[in-house]
Symmetry: D2
Subunit: 423 residues, 4 copies
Amino acid sequence: MAMTEDEKVFKDPVHGYIYVHDPLIWDLINTREMQRLRRIRQLGTTYFAYPGGDHSRFSHSLGVYEVIRQMIQAFDRNNYDWPHQYDRLAMISALLHDVGHAPFSHALEKVMGTRHENWSVTIIGHPESEVHQVLEAAEPGLSGQVADVIQKTFPNRLVVSMISGQLDADRLDYLMRDSIATGVDYGTFDLARIIRVLRPLEDRLVVRRSGIHTVEAYLLARYFMYWQVYFHPVSRAGEVLLRTVLERARELVRRARAPFETHPALFPFLIGKVNMEQYLSLDDASLFNAFSVWQDDEDPVLSDLARRFLDRRLFKEYPWTPALDGRLGDVRQLVAAHALDPNYYCIVDETGTVYYDYYLGSQREPGPENAIWLYDQATGVLSEMSGQSLPIQAIAEEHRPVRRLYVPAEVLADERFGKIVEG
Amino acid sequence: MAMTEDEKVFKDPVHGYIYVHDPLIWDLINTREMQRLRRIRQLGTTYFAYPGGDHSRFSHSLGVYEVIRQMIQAFDRNNYDWPHQYDRLAMISALLHDVGHAPFSHALEKVMGTRHENWSVTIIGHPESEVHQVLEAAEPGLSGQVADVIQKTFPNRLVVSMISGQLDADRLDYLMRDSIATGVDYGTFDLARIIRVLRPLEDRLVVRRSGIHTVEAYLLARYFMYWQVYFHPVSRAGEVLLRTVLERARELVRRARAPFETHPALFPFLIGKVNMEQYLSLDDASLFNAFSVWQDDEDPVLSDLARRFLDRRLFKEYPWTPALDGRLGDVRQLVAAHALDPNYYCIVDETGTVYYDYYLGSQREPGPENAIWLYDQATGVLSEMSGQSLPIQAIAEEHRPVRRLYVPAEVLADERFGKIVEG
Amino acid sequence: MAMTEDEKVFKDPVHGYIYVHDPLIWDLINTREMQRLRRIRQLGTTYFAYPGGDHSRFSHSLGVYEVIRQMIQAFDRNNYDWPHQYDRLAMISALLHDVGHAPFSHALEKVMGTRHENWSVTIIGHPESEVHQVLEAAEPGLSGQVADVIQKTFPNRLVVSMISGQLDADRLDYLMRDSIATGVDYGTFDLARIIRVLRPLEDRLVVRRSGIHTVEAYLLARYFMYWQVYFHPVSRAGEVLLRTVLERARELVRRARAPFETHPALFPFLIGKVNMEQYLSLDDASLFNAFSVWQDDEDPVLSDLARRFLDRRLFKEYPWTPALDGRLGDVRQLVAAHALDPNYYCIVDETGTVYYDYYLGSQREPGPENAIWLYDQATGVLSEMSGQSLPIQAIAEEHRPVRRLYVPAEVLADERFGKIVEG
Amino acid sequence: MAMTEDEKVFKDPVHGYIYVHDPLIWDLINTREMQRLRRIRQLGTTYFAYPGGDHSRFSHSLGVYEVIRQMIQAFDRNNYDWPHQYDRLAMISALLHDVGHAPFSHALEKVMGTRHENWSVTIIGHPESEVHQVLEAAEPGLSGQVADVIQKTFPNRLVVSMISGQLDADRLDYLMRDSIATGVDYGTFDLARIIRVLRPLEDRLVVRRSGIHTVEAYLLARYFMYWQVYFHPVSRAGEVLLRTVLERARELVRRARAPFETHPALFPFLIGKVNMEQYLSLDDASLFNAFSVWQDDEDPVLSDLARRFLDRRLFKEYPWTPALDGRLGDVRQLVAAHALDPNYYCIVDETGTVYYDYYLGSQREPGPENAIWLYDQATGVLSEMSGQSLPIQAIAEEHRPVRRLYVPAEVLADERFGKIVEG
């Protein structure tokens, strides 16, 4: 396979341009599995809160590839030790790491009980996927190595940590991309400088000490993005409603009273019995179209929930308070008094476990992949980040869960609701 | 209806923030007809060429409203004569002018023979639409006035030209928005300054003479956006394929051999017999989902075309040359020799009529709505724009159509193709 | 004086445009005292560290005016109580608050023992200044009110806090402006949103509770700007050298062996005996020109220091360590051993007192002007900011001084220096 | 000299970061001749029109270096033929090409009768300049090669055209930089893409045909920058006044009645008898400081003109009309009737010769360095740009001079002035 004469480029809001020189990368981008990611929203239901937040996982995947490409380039410019035999593997793993995402990205993983990483590994290893075929045609065994990097079992820990770690290419890209798309300005940081202060040091990626404030800014940008975007009450309300529609549809399918069948892979997907080809035939559109049909379904719960989703009549949130702990039953009764089924119209949403993840440095003995290490090039001393920065220490310990009650607006406005929560 | 306590805002990549103070505007935004625009791409198939170009018509509609809001504010700051009784009407018309768009915006209008303006007027006037109900509840007769502004029959020409004219809020917003979303930097211009140099002068909107270069930049930005985005060969290839899939599906429906029915409104839409409720139940997702199902249809033409669209295996363009004029039959035979039906796999695409529209100043006697007038505030003299600027005069006369032949890549690569086009 | 027909505007990197409608504001901008600020760098010697950081105090002054203008506009849009009789006073005070700055802004205040606020008040009150004359011609007594606002003695505390407070227009403008000019991206925050969440509440300016993360981002931007820009070692090195040159020149003047006289106001300024007209005739250029002449002065200390400043051969910093506490004498001896006068070539720079100022919330009982108050509009409850945010609490308590030793590079490279600091 | 361990960077508003890897480049940047450029405004008096337009020629010099660095990198990525032995020479020539600029850049060249290119060559070749010493220490003879590239006598035309040509690094940088600094948005273009479509082809730099619209946008950006910035009436008014002050001072020096001597090199400079060391001791500050002193000079013409410059009381422009051709004498008499010397207070400013330069393609037989050539990589055909684009053809022929009359505002407001110009 000959080198393409001129480099290929994609215009991109984060990186300006994304450059492709290796024909293998180009061929992987053009597989049907990668093209499908154009039809999956990176941020699930966040577009309900931020109209601009409907960018695709395809753009993000290209972006992660580009970050790795720039990292390797920066290692070279600074004459750092980096095993060049892994250049291609790192770039390919970056590009393909999200190929297994379900419709609406993370939003469905909980209700479906699936994990996109597993699907990514499945797809890359499956003899009938185009990515598998392209990889194996280029180099027999390559698909297995890529899968190993993605599932973090690849022996070279440095390569793994560039794709999955505290300062990995994945986070660096999505934080910037989501910030730019939503317009949440203070989620940005100095990506070019972060890439420049990174340095491979044996089996881990460390940060030159002079980069401490840049990394502080990155971690705080992460903190802001969680609060302003990922935990945004309206974004969560969309996800709550999305899951609720699907749970109702699943319930109907289980009862052998299936709603109108809009796509042959949808019911298998709902009941967790989907094969790869079926899985890959689904995207955001499969759900939107189903909801559009279901809004006229004979089941009143399904039709109401689907219509609410399409018309953005989301449930309203009520921040959880200790006083609510013993009174959820009362709220459910009130919902029932509005002639609504509390199993679908009274939802407790908790996102804390995701939130804790933003910085793992509070563990007493952080392993090489769980912490950010500052490296003093003069003395060779390594220091863990949270010990060197008061604001980072502060947010590293802030792992309280975000818990909210979601009910329809009319329930929240009912004066009986006020009495319940006030006790 | 009481004024909301604090203003409502939307974060926006063009305007920073979009501000809503009037509860009627807020209620209109929350109708199901407006919310549907969140699921319709502003730029149809342009995302094939520019991954970032998948922003929605909802964002654009908010943006046009915001431009009108800022125009009126600027008129006030400068003490210009502006009939304030039309404030609300102008803002509402801006917000609703695109409410009737079909899936993929303009891309389907040609194949379906519909016009979104007609559907906008229909929806606004229909007693069962939420926008109609909200408008009439606020002020009886208001829906009729809004429809008149949109179809340009409203008596006040100034209000009409702010929504539909050479420097209307619609173009000002979409050029900036499409430029930012695609990343085509030189499609930007100085929107704040254009708004500042606009001045109502009796029944038309003129430009203060000092703004001549700003308007030059705007018209040239328009020129660039046509060449770099709207006429982009890949963007057009997407539209060609989209129309071709639908034409095949329509043909099958006509032959009473319908493909799998994925949405009850789809076939009525395809054969042009759709009512408002059905029309409004369709969006981009309806087509994507249909294509996903059709890629396994028993009709090989439909399944191949649908699969090509999903996997982005678009036809390739060959720029039309005079030499091709008499040889289209030969090309069609070559396509047939590849076992492909030339009615679906050999398409001539022409976009010239749209392109000519970027500046109408070449008409010998431009009416008040067809030209941009520069106004010398000292002397009161009005001058038509293209007579005052050499580059604008140059592009005003450039109305050659853009004609291209689209065939599958394998046909273009066939050496017999080269012989045909070379004669 | 008639209203100008069209509004006046300035193009601006922070605000896009700065709008002027009041002819009095326009006349004040055109006074010679305000025009002089075009020749004074906002950031003193920071341009040594960031080449883009040479923007002028004139731009900043316009910017502070614009922030006040936007604040008042936002109060109106939200129907907040705001005493409109103070509109003009607030905007004028914002515009003029820095009119008394010395060359290189803050950099010279320490060595000269002057304060720009005092000079601002003097100039505004002086019958021979143009700003005084313009103010009094517009409204007798106005100059006194403006002076009162600037020196914080004006009775209305709300107006005072908009110019001088934790969230005043001054800080909001300079943080954004300095961040954009230097390119330190993570110093930016969402200015439009901060202005929107501010609310006048009797005699203070509070923040709507929903704006908590926006204010967090603002305070953290402030934290980053201190570390990355204001405390930057190279920026401080420039200031250290600037002061040292002037101290040597002053010493020579005192000894009656004056260096070449480049400007008649310079020596009076150096010895602290300058009148207003002399003060106003000086700007950054007066010092640069003097240094250019002095680089060939017969006094070897003066000529060397001046030449170092012009050629950017700054002293190098060594971060202060406890070990250094008793060894400054040794370092001074080493400097002397290099044939350099330790009084000029061995400088301890400390900036901590400025740094502490970034957030005063750690005081146990903050007064209304010393803290940022979050206001819950539903309940009316006010909460002090640092109690509501872990990262802000963390940086509010971080008031350690930044102390550094500055010596010429050759001294730092001397191996004896290493022995001294290692003990 | 060892390679520095980590790369050196400068934060920059145009390029994000400017990267330096070669210690020779680093040493050249740190010479006193280069550091002097920090004190010379890139745009002379343009800051009077655009407050942000006071960036320095130092930033621009770094930027031109960076563009060359990126060009070479892009040639490599695309495997184009480029003689790598010239890498260093091209980068150094870019960095040093403006080292000979006088205070206020171009503004003084006309009145002083000097050319910065000549001074650049002089400085690079002078044994006492630091740049000369650094170059010769690195490689004997290198300074001569650099001088040859700058004065376009170097044998390799490709290297010359990258520094001085229609698409040279100099223009690419200054157009972007001046556009960003002034905030004139439509002066921007897609720099990354221009660099990507450039291709060395034997002895010239051509443009890949696919880049036609990018180059159109670049040339139109140039057109806009001339009209909105470089020819801006206020910017020109500043330059007119600057030259007038210096002409008066020169006249006084010639008459042996010199104004107060603020800098020993100033009078030699004014009368054109300055040596290199004197020339290098002057910068913008030398003039500002002189004006500050001269505003109290005993010569009323000098003091008034100097004060006007400092206080920005510029002359006002009147666009030249054919009717004025025979009436300049009447205007001069009117100026005299205001007790003003018409030799200093009635100036005709013409900038046309500069303006024509923006595109040389109108020459019938353009040589390789006078035109932009589009290169069709498939066919190898070269086409001259203006023949391929209507808007470029239009502006290529627009070479009318910009002629304006400048007089004090009070003269323009005199009703007799109106009668003269109306005839």
